[in-house]
């Protein structure tokens, strides 16, 4: 049956993408009432179904105290708090801040201190677009050109904001875009053509979201195969490999 043949073809193509998930979450959040609580077992199952071979794991508030699951292909994103020490363990390969939720300015001294540490460590900073104004993000990226900033398309979709985001990406080569909730038609082709494939990062936002949404966006994009693999996992793996030990 044609549908089975197509499914097989898609599975083989997904496998070849070598997906690495920069946005997998443990725990749960009231912001997504329909989601199943993220456990290591659930994430492993979802990743298996979606041909995802490694991940950066984040934790929703309330699950920070749980021990980090030992999986060879899993690394952690740790929340950085202004005014507190930031001494990440070996498994931590990225940091995230929540300026809006935690009520601090990302442009004030204590936050700047975090960005300097991250720059020194070559550790990328993750930031949901709902947590920072685009003007503050632009300033942050300009002040810390050596800091890779991964702008996450959560917890609301990035759709209406592209008129601001695209010129900012052009101005600030250290801003990358995570694609779990990036659904503008043709956006992947546009960014690859105008800024290069190294500016996009695959993330799933599992288990709240379906990894096959962004995976499908990559798989069916009209871009070269090597560009697909860069977005699917190559870019994130490269940043992880560069983090200072």
């Amino acid at each position: 049956m044609w549908i089975d043949e197509k499914e097989t073809e898609i599975r083989e193509s997904l496998d070849k993408l070598d997906l690495f998930d920069a946005g997998a979450w443990l725990g749960s959040t009231p912001a997504f009432p329909l989601m199943e609580r993220g456990t290591p077992e659930l994430l492993e199952r979802i990743h298996g179904e979606s041909y995802i071979k490694g991940a950066l794991i984040s934790r929703w508030p309330g699950s920070e105290g749980e021990s980090f699951p030992a999986r060879e292909s899993w690394y952690a994103i740790e929340t950085a708090l202004p005014g507190q020490d930031f001494n990440p363990s070996e498994r931590v390969k990225a940091a995230r801040i929540f300026p809006a939720s935690m009520g601090f300015s990302p442009l004030e001294g204590e936050a700047r201190r975090i960005f300097s540490i991250l720059t020194d460590k070559k550790m990328p900073l993750f930031l949901m677009h709902t947590e920072i104004s685009f003007s503050d993000l632009d300033t942050l990226a300009a002040e810390h050109p050596g800091l890779n900033i991964v702008l996450e398309s959560q917890t609301k979709k990035i759709l209406y904001h592209m008129g601001t985001v695209l010129p900012m990406m052009q101005r600030r080569p250290n801003i990358l875009l995570e694609i779990s909730n990036l659904c503008n038609q043709g956006i992947i082709e546009y960014i690859v053509k105008n800024f290069g494939p190294d500016r996009l990062v695959f993330g799933s936002f599992a288990p709240a979201s379906d990894p096959l949404v962004p995976a499908g966006m990559i798989l069916q994009a009209g871009i070269p195969e090597d560009a697909k693999r860069e977005i699917a996992g190559g870019n994130m793996r490269r940043m992880i490999s560069e983090v200072a030990k």
Partner: protein, 264 residues
């Protein structure tokens, strides 16, 4: 008709004030070819802006310029019922006209408002399907007007009308309401269009309402249709269910004559 694999039962034509690449007819057709979408059912954005004549003309033009691959629905605006119905009457004379769409949120008129009675009567008497935007009670207050539970009375009264809840009630509490309505009424269907990206979405719908009531849709070009295609193929459903969702249900609701031809 033979060889059709996917029908996008919920998409749009028109211009947008945010980034869409290839939103014109040529771009849409290119993407349809790339994704093996054989047919797509459009509602032009101008129906939502009360520019009825232009909406009709653009819809008809797209139907012919696409060699009949993009048939269309006409929008009914309860704020301008006479003008709206007049234009719908002209649409009904056109090849490519499939049915009616309503959008309580765009039209700022709750789905249970008496102003919709005239269009429910129209679709019932003309044997046409009705598609409505539906959504959940989210941070955007205007979406409350489109909650599936507000359709209860009309769905009860017009049980011969094939009625599609666009977006399956949206990403929150509307989803359960949509499922409840579809389970209660044999004539109520759900479509998958829009940014309904939650994990297990399609499997949940199939388990709760059955594959025979779900229509594949994308919301193209508001949303890139590539968000939907791969996840539908790999939704963990059997092949027969996926065929129903990908195109057979769309034909059954909007183009039953073509479904009969397909069977022959």
């Amino acid at each position: 008709m033979s060889g059709i694999r996917i029908i996008d039962s919920h998409m749009h034509l028109g211009e947008w004030d945010f980034f869409t690449h290839g939103a014109g007819l040529k771009g849409i057709l290119n993407l349809m070819d790339r994704l093996e979408i054989g047919r797509a059912y459009s509602t032009h954005q101008l129906w939502f802006a009360a520019r009825f004549k232009e909406a009709r003309e653009e819809s008809v033009r797209a139907y012919h310029e696409s060699d009949g691959r993009i048939p269309f629905l006409a929008g009914f605006d309860p704020r301008y019922p006479a003008d709206s119905l007049s234009e719908i009457g002209l649409c009904a004379k056109e090849e490519g006209f499939l049915g009616i769409k309503i959008h309580p949120s765009f039209h700022e008129t709750p789905a249970d408002d008496a102003g919709y009675r005239v269009i429910w009567e129209y679709v019932e008497s003309n044997g046409l399907p009705l598609l409505s935007h539906t959504w959940s009670d989210t941070y955007n207050p205007i979406q409350r007007l489109s909650q599936p539970k507000l359709f209860e009375e009309y769905a009860d009264k017009y049980q011969s009308v094939k009625f599609v809840l666009g977006h399956s009630g949206g990403p929150g509490n509307g989803r359960q309401q949509a499922v409840d309505l579809a389970r209660k009424h044999p004539n109520v269907y759900l479509d998958t269009a829009g940014d309904l990206f939650s994990y297990g979405f399609l499997k949940y719908l199939v388990e709760n309402v059955g594959a025979h009531k779900i229509l594949f849709g994308t919301d193209q070009p508001m949303m890139d249709p590539r968000c939907q295609v791969v996840r539908t193929y790999l939704a963990g459903l059997d092949s027969e269910s996926k065929e129903l969702i990908f195109y057979k249900n769309a034909l059954a609701v909007y183009e039953p004559r073509l479904l009969e031809e397909e069977k022959c």
